[in-house]
Structure formats: C-alpha cells, structure tokens
Symmetry: C2
Subunit: 707 residues, 2 copies
C-alpha cells in the first residue's frame, strides 16, 4: 500500500465519485477546490445524471472511466461508497479518499461496513484515506481534495488530524495568519492509512520540515514508536493527543469510536520516540513557527536584547524557569558592547539598550551578540517607545538582512499590536519568528533546545542480560497448566534464579527442623515467610516474621506461621516456610514492576517503596525494551530520587545495581508475553548492592483460558 501513497499525495489523474452540479454538495465543492487550486492533472467527474459539471465532461459510472486513474475521491453515501471502492479496485486505482461518513463512528452497521471497506482496500492494495474525513491538501502539487473553503500558502509545515473540524479551524487560522503549509491531511476513521503511515511518508517528504498532528489514539503502538523514532532524528514531530483525562476520554470514545489507551503510556511512548507532546493548539502553532523557520540552538544559552527593563526581567524570569540559561557573555563581547552602547545601558544579559534606542543601536547590538561565542540563541525584545516606533520597518528589515542565514536561532518579540504591526509582518514574511510576548518565544526555544538534545543522543544499544530462558518459561508454563493466576514467592524464586537476580539468600524449609538448619547455614538474623501457592498476600495471614536471631526463634516462628495459616486458610496447600537472610541495615526499598499496555506493550515502572509509591504516587515509567540510558532516566525522574542520592552525609545507593534490575525487568517483560504484570517489591538497596527480596508475577487471563 505504501508505494501507493505517492498516488494519494501527487496524483496525475483524479476521479470524483459523486461529483455534483449543486454548489452546496460536497461533490461539487471538492471539484471546485481542485480547479481553484489550479490542479495540473486530469479530473474526471462521475455522476449518473449530469453531462458536464464546472465545464468538465461527466462520466456516468466508474466502469466508463478511462483506464489509468491515480486517485479517486468518494463523496457518495456509505453503501454506494463501499461498492465504488470495489469497482475502483477492479479498475486498478491506486489511492482512494473516502469522504463519506456513517461508518465506524456511528457503530453497529457502520462498523461492519467499515470492516468491508478495509477488506476491499487490502484486496486491491489501495492506499485508502478515511472514511469520514475532510480529504487532503498538497500545496506543492496544487492538490486540494477537501471540501473546506480557502487555500493555504505553500510552506514546509505538514499537518495530519484525526478530527476534520480541527483541520477546518487550523486551515482558517493559517489563512488569517498567512502561514504556509505543505501537506494537510484529514485522517478520518483511519480504516487503512493512519498516523504512522503519515509520519513515515512525511518523514521522507523533502517538502516537509516540521510534522504536526492531532490524534485521539494510536493504531499500532510499536510500529508507531519505531517509525517516529527514526523520523525525529531529522524532523520534529509535534503531536496533540487528546482524551487525556477521564472526561476527555469519554468524549473521545463518543467521537470517532477510538479507544484511548492509558495516557501515561502515551506520554512514555512519545518521549521514547522523540515526539514532542503538545497540549493545546496555540502552543502547536508557536512551536511550528519556531521549528519551521529557525535552526536548532546548539546549547542552552539565551541572550536577550531589550529596550525595556520590565519586559527584560520578565523574560529573564521565564528563561530561568526553563531548561534554558541566561548566557554569561564573554569578556570580549562586553568590551564590544561598551563601545557601541551609551553609558547608562545594562551590558549584562538581559542587555538593556534603554528606551531611547533606535534601529541602529538595536542592529549594532545584534551584530555583536551574533558573534558572541557563549550565545546559542538570541531574543530581540522590543517595546514600541517613541524612539523605535517610527523606525520599526527599518529595524525589521535590518534584522532580516543580518539574521536570515546565521547558524543560531533568533526570535523577536515586538510587544504591541499597532505601531509594531508592520515590523512583525516583515519579520514573519522573511522567516524570522516574531511573537507578541516573551513567554511563547522562550518556551518555543526551550522545546527546540530539548529537541536538539534528543537529536544529539546517539542510538544506545539494548543490553540483553544473561538468563536461563528455558527455566523461566518452564515456571510460567507450569502455572498456566495448573491454572494459576499468580506466581509468588516459592515458584517466583526460580524466576529470580533464571534471571540471575541478586536476592537475599532464601531456601524453602518444609519442617521446623529444616528451617533451623537452613537458618544456621545462611546466617542470622533471618526472616520466615509462609510458602504456599494459594496464599499470595502473605500479610493477610500474618505469614511473615522478621528479625529471628536464634534456631529456637526460627523453630517457634515456623510453627506459629504454618499453624496460623492452616487455621485461617484451611483449604490452602502449605508447602512450608521460606527462610530468608535479613536485609542489611539502612537499606532503602525500591519497587520495579511492569504492566502490559494494550497499545504500547510492557510499561515498566519504578519508584521508592512504601508511601512514596502507594500514597504519593511518585512513579516513573518507561516502555520496553529499555536502554541503560532509559533506566537511568527513570531513576532520576522520581521526586524522591534525592533520597537515593544520599543526604545528611549518607553515601548514594548503588545506582548501577538498580539499573541492572530495571533492565532485567524490561527483558523479562519481553521474554514472557504470558505475564501480564510483574513486580519486584521490595528491592533492597544500599551503597553496595540491590537485592530483590520478593517477586510477584500475574499471568494474563487469556493464557489461563487458552489452556
């Protein structure tokens, strides 16, 4: 299908199924839009009744169309639409846009009709866009198959959207702001072509510099991540994913029937793929403007040139609250500034060239700063004082001349809407971003800087930890055969061994005497834990006794635990007790776990044990497979990371040991697809080691059913 995408975006001939003479019908507007866009190829209107529409000869049906047709746009009602796709397939048409609605989004019969559509498209290998969509625009191919009004300028921004209405709004905004677009795609129900196909195509499209998108769900999680990850090395992808709250998700599912996955998983997937997640349309535009016109900053240092103190301070505040930094200007730069600026100017960043600055003083200062070796990005901030307002055109032209091709990003903020208007327009027309306020400019630059860091990050190899996969699979299969939903302590011990997970010495004792011997063998103090495949929550039966210091204490504890368990859970088979070496003093407890996400697969979790995870929800996430870098980020992301780093003179914990355990969890989640959820809890860490003291695996219900 993918090779047919070229026919979708750059067709030489287009058939319009349902072309109409009625100016209000979609079949008419699409035709009109194509003509207005000055489409260079052939257009074939299809309508059983009309003779000519908008000056073009009409074909009565699909069969009577000429042989070689690249793209068909379908605007007829649902039933007819499905039939048409079949006929078009037979005719060898490579790409189809189904604008018609009434499919999956209305459920019931619509759903089944959409399934039929998918079947047909697959049979004929058709690149099918929609159904229930607005169509698409490719300004560079003079193509507009939408029924929206207005044609955007040519540009290097491409946009795809799961919401047709949002396409309309953004198109209207682009027209008003005079922003250029390259491709503009309404995805509709995504029966065949989805966001991943668009990302792949636009990633390779030389006319696209920035990819924007609005989605409510992702169709194929892993493919999406893999595809996007490659693209974002070279082109930024900015996505709005809506339905992120309960209310939003409810609205989303009543909208295009998309089931929104866990929002956490989406955020994690986006960051894994280097996709920039955006939460509102305004930010999307601000970022598009920045990315489409300016080079990425090669570091965090921002230099601010201003003619007004107040706004300069505000800008410095925003910069300090971001990942950017205020540049420390070089001594040479400050010397140069001294020579060109009046004595009352503030030479240190923000450089305040004072309210009486004219265009020349601005341009001279910019000249100096462009050459400053410490500066990675420049912000020119302006209040329309009486000194600069009359020279605003001159200044804007000067900035364009000086800065159009410098290797550092430059952003202008001309505050105001009246006297500065002409200057703003000159800048924007010449690809220098100009914002009304400091905030969006600096925030956009910050995102560019973070994206630059992403592009610099080399591809890090996945480490495959050594493990005895056979043993692990055996444990899982046994559980499935015996219809166990959980694998705990005793069986789980084998999993620890299979994955070479460091753990406190532990052995199963079937009698109190055996417990005493084991305790003596592994050394005091020890912990005793009930061992029974039927008891997963040991504390419910008070099945754990800690800090046992002598054989006698061990013996008593064994008898106490087993008899209590027998009494409280008479139906349970009790194997005995696990005898475990006590954790060294001063250990901290962390938790490593995973849960399988419907869309994106194993979502690995990390947090500090106890209240930090349970009450304060201080948890970080990553999607398997994880690199060591990912594991390090996960550890650093939690707020209680500071506790692991050590405080009050404590040494930091052994981070490498925790990373290893996180990486093993990642590998385990990939090795054992039958496991739906797993947890190492607690993992005991100090400055020397990290020991997995307890393990719990949950087998997915499907597996139990299967067996």
């Amino acid at each position: 299908m993918k090779q047919n995408l070229e026919y979708l975006f750059s067709p030489k001939s287009i058939a319009i199924i349902g072309a109409s003479s009625h100016p209000e019908k979609i079949g008419h507007i699409v035709l009109q839009n194509l003509q207005e866009m000055n489409f260079k190829g052939e257009i074939y209107p299809v309508n059983p009744k009309a003779k000519t529409i908008l000056g073009l000869p009409v074909f009565s049906d699909i069969k009577s169309l000429p042989k070689k047709i690249d793209l068909a746009v379908i605007t007829v009602p649902r039933g007819l639409a499905v039939k048409s796709v079949e006929e078009l397939g037979e005719k060898g048409v490579k790409a189809v846009i189904v604008i018609s609605a009434g499919f999956k989004e209305i459920g019931g019969k619509g759903y089944h009709q959409e399934q039929k559509l998918i079947e047909i498209a697959k049979k004929y290998n058709i690149a099918l866009l929609g159904p229930n969509c607005l169509g698409l625009i490719n300004t560079h191919a003079n193509l507009n198959t939408t029924f929206a009004t207005g044609i955007p300028n040519k540009g290097n921004i491409s946009f795809f959207s799961q919401s047709g209405a949002l396409c309309v709004a953004i198109l209207d905004w682009a027209l008003g702001e005079n922003i250029g677009f390259s491709k503009f795609i309404s995805l509709g129900n995504k029966a065949i072509l989805d966001e991943t196909d668009m990302i792949e195509y636009l990633g390779k499209d030389p006319k696209t510099k920035v990819i924007l998108g609005y989605i409510e769900n992702v169709c194929s999680g892993e493919k999406f991540i893999q595809t996007a990850k490659k693209v974002t090395r070279n082109k930024p992808i900015l996505l709005i994913k809506s339905g992120r709250t309960a209310a939003g998700a409810r609205a989303a599912s009543s909208h295009t029937g998309a089931i929104a996955g866990s929002d956490k998983a989406y955020s994690t997937a986006f960051s894994k793929a280097g996709i920039i997640r955006v939460f509102d349309v305004e930010t999307l535009f601000n970022l598009a403007l920045a990315f489409s016109t300016q080079p990425l900053p090669q570091g965090p240092n921002l230099t601010i040139i201003t003619n007004s103190g107040g706004p300069g301070i505000m800008a410095a505040d925003i910069c300090e609250n971001s990942k950017l930094q205020m540049t420390r200007l070089s001594a040479e730069t400050i010397q140069k500034l001294k020579q060109i600026l009046p004595g009352y100017a503030a030479l240190y960043n923000p450089i305040d060239i004072i309210g009486d600055a004219d265009a020349k003083r601005y341009l001279d200062t910019i000249d100096v700063i462009v050459d400053d070796p410490n500066t990675h990005a420049i912000l020119v901030l302006l209040s329309p004082t009486s000194a600069i307002a009359p020279q605003i055109t001159e200044l804007a032209k000067g900035i364009v001349k000086k800065c159009k091709n410098i290797p550092k990003p430059i952003f202008c903020v001309f505050m105001g809407k009246h006297h500065v208007k002409k200057g703003q327009k000159i800048l924007l027309d010449n690809n220098i971003p100009c914002y009304l306020f400091p905030e969006p400019a600096i925030r956009s630059l910050e995102t560019m800087y973070k994206h630059w860091e992403w592009t610099k990050k080399g591809e890090i190899k996945i480490e495959i930890p050594k493990r005895n996969l056979e043993l692990a699979k055996k444990v899982i299969n046994e559980a499935i055969v015996t219809k166990q939903r959980e694998i705990v302590e005793f069986q789980a011990l084998k999993i620890l061994q299979a994955y070479n997970l460091p753990h406190p010495k532990t052995k199963l004792a079937r009698s109190s005497d055996e417990a005493m011997h084991i305790a003596e063998e592994i050394g005091f103090p020890v912990v005793l834990k009930i061992a029974s495949p039927s008891i997963s929550h040991k504390t419910d039966v008070k099945g754990v006794i800690i800090n046992l210091n002598s054989p006698k204490e061990v013996k008593n504890a064994f008898l106490e635990i087993t008899s209590r368990a027998q009494r409280l859970r008479p139906e349970a088979h009790i194997t005995g007790c696990l005898v475990q070496k006590m954790a060294p003093k001063g250990c901290k407890e962390v938790i490593v776990g995973f849960k399988r996400d419907d869309q994106f697969g194993p979502l690995i979790m990390f947090g500090l044990g106890g209240i930090y995870v349970e009450v304060l929800k201080d948890i970080s996430f990553g999607l398997a497979p994880l690199t060591r870098d990912d594991a390090q980020n996960m550890i650093r992301q939690i707020k209680s990371y500071l506790l692991l780093k050590g405080f009050r003179g404590e040494p930091p914990v052994n981070f490498k040991a925790i990373e290893d355990i996180i990486l093993i969890m990642s590998q385990l989640s990939l090795d054992l697809p039958e496991v739906f959820e797993a947890e190492f809890n607690p993992v005991l860490v100090n400055d020397k080691e990290a020991l997995v003291a307890d393990v719990r695996l949950i087998i997915s219900a499907n597996n139990n059913k299967k067996n």
Copy 2:
C-alpha cells in the same frame, strides 16, 4: 496626600513645566497628547523662551503662572525638576507628575536627589507620581499626560505599571485590539505614590471594574495587603510581579533599583490579599477580557457546546485538569436537547451539535443551556465548517442578543482567523469574550471561579491564643541582655510554658541522681538531651539518647552525655540534661516555623519533618496573622498531607491540634518582634494530640547590637 489624588486623575488645570516647540521633545509631545485627547480644562505651558506653543500662550516661569493649578507635569532635567517641585509646592499645586529621569534608578547623586524630591513633596502634601515615569491617562477625564503615541478607547480596565516600557507596549496592544481602558498609570520610581495608593484609589473608582498591574517590588508590605484585601472583595486585582527568579531579580535590581523580596513571601501575600498573581502579559490580557465583561460563575460547572468533536475533547481535557468541572446536565435539559438536536448529536457534555450545525442549531442549544440549573458557565466552541462559516455574523449577533445580560458567564471560542473574523469582532465589540483557542477561555474561567470562591469567603476572625506574654518577653530579654543569638531547649522550655504549648513532660536534671528521680516521676521510657545554652546542635556532640527504660539506663546515659559534651566542647557551660517523656509510638513528625520577611513580616512555614522538608522541600507558607482557615489551608497544601490523613487503615492525625500550634506560632511571631526566626521541630502528632518536642528561637542581630 491621598485627598489630592483626585487632582492627579481629574485635574481642571494643568501646567507643563518644560513645554517645548520642538516636536521631538517630551515637553512638546505631552502637550500635544493633552490637546489630541481633547482635554477640557486649562493648559499652561511653561518655558522661559517660547511665546506660544501649539497655539497656547506660554508662561516664562512657575511664579508667573495663575494661582489655582491642580496638576503640573515636569519634563525638565533632574536638577531643575527638583527646584520646580519646590516652587509648585509653594504655589499650592496639589499634584505633580515627574516624567524626568536620572533619580534613584542611576544610584549615587540620583538617589539623593530623589530623597530631596520626597522631602519636598511631603512638606507641601503633593500627590507626586514618578519620577522616571511615562505619565498617566484617564480616558474618562480626557486626560493624557504621557509622551506615548496613541489614545486608548474608554473602558473599565485600569492598569498601573512600574515599567514605563511595558505601559507603552500594552498601550500599543490595546490600540491594535481595540480594548478600552479607564486609567493608565506609569508609576516610575514610586518616590511618593506607589502600588498601594493606586489600588486604594482604583478600588473606589466607579469607572474601574478590573485592576491590572505590573510591579517589581512592593513598598509597604502590610499596608499593601490590608488595602488590597478590602478591594478584592469587590474588584479583581491581577498583578504581574517580576524578578521572581535569581536572574530576574538581578535584572530587576539593575532596573529601577528595587530590591525584590522573597518570591515565596510575595505569592503568600498575594493570596492572603485575594490578589490574582499572573506570570505573563498574555494571560493578563485574557483575564482582563474575561473579568471586565462577564459576571463571576456561581460555581464550578462548565457546559461546552461544540460543532466539532476533536476540539470538544481538548476542551473537556483542559476543564478536567482545572478546578472547574464538566456539568452533569439535568434530565430536563437533556430532554429539551433531544427535541431540538438531530439524532446523531452527542447530548452529554461536551454537547456535540455536529459539523453540519447552523446558527439556528447553535442558538437553540444555547437557549436550553442558559436555563440548565446545573450549569454555572457556558463555552461556545466553533470550528468554521462550511455549514456555519457563512452564518458567522448571524450567529454572533444571536449570541449577543441572547447572552448580553444573562447572569452566567458565557465565553466563545471561534477557532480560526479568516472566516470567523467578523463574528469574533461582533462578540468582542459587545462584551462577549471570544478567544481563538479553548485553553485561554477555560483557564480564564477557572481563575474567575477561584476568585468567586474568594469573594464568598467571609472574613474569618483571628483567634488570639491565651499566653503569658510577660514570661515570654522575659526569656527574650534575658537572651538579648546576655547577647545570645539562640534560645534553645532549656530556656525555650519556658516559651513552651508561656504559650501553653502541649509538649512531652520535660524536666531539667542537674545530676544523674536527679535524672533518675525525674524519669521515675514522669514515667518510662524517657529521652535524655544535653542542656547547655552554648550547644545548639545537640547531635553534634551526640547529646541525645532515646528509649531509656530503667533508672540505671538513665543514670548511665546522663554520665555518658555530660562527659562527652565536656570533652568535645570544653568551653561550654553544661547545665545538665533534660529528661523528656518518649513520644507515643507511631507518631508522625511535623515542623512549624517562621522567618521574618523584610517586606511582609513573619512568614509562617509548615511541613512534614525529616526528608519531606529537608530533602523534598515540601513546605507551605502563610503570613501572620493567620486565621484558622489559613492554618487549615497550609496543612492541606503540602503534598505529604496524604500521609497525615492516614493510609493503610491508619486513623488521621489530630488536625485541630496542629492548627492550634500553627496559630500559636503566628501569635508568637507577632508578640516577639525581636525573634527573627523560630522553629518547633519536631512536633509529634498522632490521632490524639500534637506535642512540641523541641523549640529553637533566633534573636535578630539588630537586637543584639542594640543592647
């Protein structure tokens, strides 16, 4: 001075000291602006050389001016400016605007000249604005004494600013957006008139509905809070306070020489006064638009009407992430909607009236929702689909007609910039806020809702806890006399007694025998702590031993502690040991403290003990005097509040007991101005009580010097 503010804002006659014939001079532009504004009173230009300027007869000096002059605007250089104010004072002029610069903001001589200015203004009781300012505008009095270009429309928004350049930018923005203003004031160096004077005046001004401001510092903390608190009951105050980060503050202090206080104290002061703190100019405008045109919502429930699913979901997401809620529509409302909407519409909030909705469908839906009893606010969201785009004017007019005087706030979001432009203009011209995107509309509404909650909150009485003030003062005075900087354990015990603070039974033992007796008297287990006025960090000398269970253990501990202290700190006078009852098991530790802020006085702090405060910085703040409501909010604000509420079946702690201790700390901070910092740490809390186990007071260095 304050009674003279009327002369500043609504003068009948104005003298311009430094009026000029040169069109580029400030003294010319001010005169021109006054004339262009069509000022109705007398204007007297003063210039030693010219005969007439801009058609007006010129006075050669201040002495030759007519007798009754309300306001003078000074544009002459610094030295002359100071002299002029003196002469104007002698003449009985009530209000003066000093536009001239070169005062405090340049330091050195400028600072001294400003002091002189203040002296003169006080002597003659002059309401003086500036120096180093842009002047002011009062659209309702046809007054424009600024040298900025352009006149804003009449409106009900007033704005004051410590940055003249920001005034210029905002003026320009207002002109471009056609936004009306009432008063527009550039504060300059705030030699006499400051933000508090403006808040007081504008609070009473019937032509001002919303007060906006930009400040870099506050001149008089307590007066500011008291004044603003009264005003915000009736009018919203929206302030930007910049210099909030280190970089910003550095820039601020090189700007108008204002010393920015602790940013935390500012935030706390603003919230105490009901001031809405804003962080960027864009938000300031979005909020000004909302507050100046719409009534406050009487509750959190927002109903969204949309013609497009995607933007509807985004809006629902934003709403759910705010303090607002998505309305659950009444059964009756849903019935009514069923009758007017097509079958495929989504009747539940967000109400999706679908892309083919025309103006009538929109207006019918609005009609139903206006009457819905559960709805507190309405958002009309629109994508310019082909169905609605041609009817945009009709729709906007319809909304104006229906909603101009309803008691619920209504916000429109017409997405786009081209087809929707006319509609947006009609709405804005008729005081219906219309935004380009859902985010700013919903965020503005959220702020209005929070402000409504503030206005509903009754004035809560300050509770004065019973205390023995004489005893407390005695302890402090003794410390001052003996040049102690710290009051700890032993002396501090008296402070606990003076304020009736519940604390674990504690007594001073001077010998090991006495320690044993005391321990038996108060009951085991006990803690022993070194008692020495010279040892403030007891742990440095291992001066605390806990969990002593017998007289013998107490005796040994006494000897161990005192001998070790003697050895490690041979210079210290050791009084003995404090014998303290051990805390009940399972207690949590909290910390209550205060620190005196330069601007706003005692800043009370609260947090969970140990790592929560020290490492995670999970602290909340309040300014004394605190009400019980304030104390409750402080407790609820920390993230680890959840731990106090109890989890895993634990009971919640006794919150009332913690509140009491916070209120006592507030009272103590007011009672004892000599104390610069104080801390109750730890305070041991469980479900029954809260006990102050340790106290530390720091005497301010000034007091030590004084004595």
